[in-house]
Symmetry: C2
């Protein structure tokens, strides 16, 4: 039997816990825990491709860029995306390389820079709502509108009474993983590839069919489904901070979902059981992967990952 | 005849000119000029691996980290190295992908995170002299010695009268490119790989033979020679801001070096013709590559790169 290929989409807590500052030591501790679970799957013989979020790391870089903008020019959001792919890719690559070496496995690990194409006509560009970077006062927000005419500022859930404005960008749908051919060749040559970090660097085609970066944030699970499609993955494993997706979430009759069919999950999704900012995009990404032809999509927590693959733990959506 | 493989080490001006601030637009303009020269070599049928420096980009990130350190934790120098590999890799990957597409060539471009191992016992760790990050006043430097006991501060060529202290780190010799196997497989599968950026992320083995980052900066040309060795390159092309290495540099009898033998170049090097901070490391890297078994090493400027490969322009060191 051919070895199964799994694309794993790591949740934010795989690298930085919500209650942490995000020091290097904290991040490396989380990456170590995550990597141990990944190596269990490698030992069991699965071929893996890894993707991950970048929210906290991109946020930190944007704050630092702003703080230092009198001395050195800030880079745009697409370049910041590249930076976080390098930063997180480095931590994961180092940690996985060490653990794989301990197990005497011969699997080289490589993180790549990865662009994901979106449409400049994506409807989300008309009403961007994804906050990025620092919080600003009303005055600062007004000034920024002058200095950065392409920035859209919105009042958001207040951090403090004064600082309650943030830049918002679109979250367009991923259309094409631009390094798909390279990733397939790398996987075929036996490499463990870390790709599509932070949902990929968002790019669009210009009038000459040249790629150029665009200010946006692509959902990392939707981009992960695209990655799973292009590598022909059998299983798409979405890891988050809960063991299962639930219906009637937070209500007395809340029910954890186990193994279910595409049609059942699609129905629950259409009934609005999953929050648009939390479980909703994960369920959509899982459904898409099965639509693309995947064998099964799984939503579960890191500590259930191995059991999910080997014993059907977590929420499993079958073709 | 088998296609020749060239490792190209791009000088700093390939991405940021000395007189520029380093905005994204400026950097992309330089990367475009550089990429056009690279594509000429691809069209001529050569297999390429690209490496590049990261000095200005790492410097900017360190200044930004310092400016934002009240809000978010600064990351160590090795993680900053990963960030610059992602940032510069992104710009080059995008630009090269566009130009390669224009030529209807089928060569996927991928930038990778790349660690380079050094020895924790490298003598340079005893007397570090490579300045990194912001300039500080004497008072600030004294305070930093307390807050960051592992930092070494040195008085350097003053930027201003007040701010004339900088952190210095070692520049150890590269021992091993940790992603060598992956890079070879990628090259063999027809990919154009961008690797060893900024001289690679410096790592050492700890007591468990696990890799861990270390505060250091590896010379990008010496790391490039190591990269050229591991991919079995035929030619190592070091691009800088002058067309040739010179003997008697800056003197009335200054003479540009053209094609010469390893032994001749070794003799000139031993006679001290090449500055330790400028041409010296490039000549050393070129000599090492020929020692490793390379066919020829070339030192020249970007605009002479194609002529150097096809018509022996620049300084050429033969086996």
């Amino acid at each position: 039997m051919a070895r199964k290929t799994i694309v794993i989409a790591l949740g934010g807590n795989a690298i930085k816990q919500a209650n942490e500052q995000g020091t290097y030591e904290e991040q490396m501790r989380n990456v170590l825990i995550t990597s141990k679970e990944i190596v269990k799957l490698l030992k069991a013989g699965y071929r893996l491709v890894i993707t991950h979020g970048n929210g906290p790391q991109a946020g930190s870089l944007l704050i630092q860029q702003e703080a230092g903008n009198k001395e050195v020019p800030a880079q745009p959001l697409d370049a910041v995306g590249g930076m976080t792919q390098g930063q997180i890719g480095y931590m994961m690559q180092q940690c996985l390389t060490n653990l794989i070496g301990d197990e005497r496995l011969q699997i080289p690990v490589v993180s790549i820079v990865n662009q994901v194409r979106v449409s400049a006509d994506d409807p989300d560009f008309n009403n961007p709502s994804k906050p990025v970077g620092p919080f600003y006062s009303k005055d600062e927000a007004e000034q920024l509108k002058v200095i950065k005419p392409d920035w859209i500022m919105k009042e958001v859930k207040p951090q403090t009474v004064e600082k309650r404005f943030r830049r918002v960008v679109a979250s367009p749908d991923p259309i094409q993983n631009m390094e798909a051919i390279a990733i397939r060749r790398m996987l075929d040559s036996g490499l463990l590839v870390i790709a599509s970090g932070g949902g990929g660097i968002p790019v669009v085609y210009d009038e000459n069919r040249h790629l150029k970066g665009i200010a946006a944030v692509i959902d990392k699970d939707l981009a992960g489904a695209k990655l799973a499609e292009v590598v022909g993955a059998d299983i798409f494993l979405i890891l988050t901070d809960v063991s299962n997706a639930c219906i009637q979430y937070g209500k007395p009759d809340e029910k954890k979902l186990g193994v279910l069919s595409y049609d059942e999950m699609k129905k629950y999704s259409q009934e609005g059981h999953f929050g648009s900012g939390s479980m909703g995009p994960k369920v959509n990404a899982a459904l898409r992967f099965v639509e693309y032809g995947g064998e099964r999509a799984i939503i579960t927590s890191l500590d259930q990952a191995f059991e999910a693959i080997t014993k059907s733990a977590g929420t499993q959506i079958l073709k």
